[in-house]
């Protein structure tokens, strides 16, 4: 009888410890369920923001020193490139002064933001751009002299547009938001940001 109880107890302990040894997939599913129950929609931020697309799912796994395999990275980049919508007029350069305003503003898409108000891209949060703005972040590389260093060519304008539109098309699992793909910026706003980077008169190239 004693042995029986001990065995049962051992099974119990084993069962309870096994219950915590979740596989990676189980942990993902559990974490998502916990998040869905822990967030509530507010304003424009609905719960569907927790529904990941394939890129988000994949990039949530290759973290903490685990690097994304080359073939997977190439696949993501190819898929994301195919999603880029280019301007119908094939013109990429807007107004750099507007671009500077967009680069300075972090407004938009937060649950307390007015969805009707203009949004920003907050470029300075992560990048150096003009020489005059000293309050810039370092999560992304410096973009000072972006056009001057690369040449003021139509190809480079198109590349800048594509990169702002969908950063994942060129660097899988980049930290940079997909401003066009996810509707953070309008086409006209992206052109303004491209002008900030590519207009020879922009302070970025001075």
């Amino acid at each position: 009888m004693k042995t029986k109880i001990a065995t049962l107890a051992a099974i119990g302990i084993l069962a309870s410890s096994c219950a915590t040894m979740m596989s990676d997939g189980e942990a993902d599913a559990k974490a998502l369920a916990v998040m869905k129950a822990s967030f509530k929609e507010r304003g424009q931020a609905k719960l569907d923001r927790l529904d990941q697309d394939e890129m988000q799912k994949l990039c949530s796994h290759y973290v903490g020193g685990k690097t994304l395999p080359k073939d997977a990275a190439e696949r993501v980049e190819k898929e994301q490139q195919a999603l880029i919508k280019y301007p119908a007029d094939a013109k990429y350069l807007g107004d750099w002064k507007q671009g500077e305003r967009i680069a300075q503003s972090g407004a938009g898409k937060q649950f307390n933001d007015d969805p009707a108000a203009p949004t920003g891209a907050n470029c300075y949060a992560c990048h150096q751009l003009s020489k005059a703005e000293l309050s810039f972040g370092t999560i992304g590389p410096s973009l000072y002299n972006f056009g001057k260093l690369r040449g003021f060519t139509p190809e480079m304008q198109k590349y800048a547009y594509s990169k702002v539109y969908n950063s994942q098309a060129f660097a899988a699992c980049s930290n940079m938001p997909r401003f066009g793909h996810n509707g953070i910026l309008t086409e006209a706003q992206i052109k303004d940001v491209v002008a900030l980077l590519m207009d020879p008169e922009s302070p970025v190239n001075k």
Binding site: A31, A45, D51, F136, G137, N175, I184
Partner: protein
Amino acid sequence: MNRIQRLAAGLCVLALASGVSAQQRTTVEEIERYRAALGDGNPAELWEARGEGLWKEARGPKKASLEQCDLGLGPGLVKGAYTVLPKYFADSAKVEDLESRLVTCMVTLQGFTPEQAKKNPFGGPGQKSDIEALVAFVTAQSRGIKMNVAANHPAEQAAYDIGKKIFYFRGGPHDFSCASCHGADSQRIRLQDLPNLTKLADAQRAYTAWPAYRVSQGEVRSFQWRLYDCFRQQRFPELEFTSEASVALTMFLAKNANGGVFDAPSIKR
């Protein structure tokens, strides 16, 4: 001058200082100015004092104080309690961080409904938060003590694993996760230094400095608030106060800070 008067005087200096061409100075310089203006006084002491009053006062339908609340080291033991949280509690059968534990005690000991206990989780103009004051009081009693989150119970381990998943979860219109800003060394957002919460030294330094008196907001902010506002900027929906995800993420961050000497409520910009 007594302590409170000194603090009030410090706050006046602050209010004046912040009006003068603040934009021309860098954030770092501003922080130094604030610190100098405050001298050795941290306005969080006002919250700590109010929190101590709330802790000892007989309140709620049961007209009881919180003094018999078990914060993880046993009923009534406050000193060092914050350094072992979050923790699994058998009575509630849940892993709880400090804020959720306070809610549990307000319900079980004082007879408040959970809704009443969670009212005003974060203070703002014209609405004081009792929870933030209690958090200031309780955490201050762990100052100088090393973080020591056990996470041995299966439920605690599960919370840690889920918290880790949440930390790396990319979502929303900006594709952000916690790790977007807190996963690499020596980075800044604008001029603000960002701790790499996946590295021991940074994780310890960051976690042991919360809660904090936020000069820019004039409020003591709890760790629950820190997570709530990070997710807002991450463009996620609204994180519910003391939700399972918030506690799991806190478990991940608190355990990663083990060994760090707790030193809060602190003062931040």
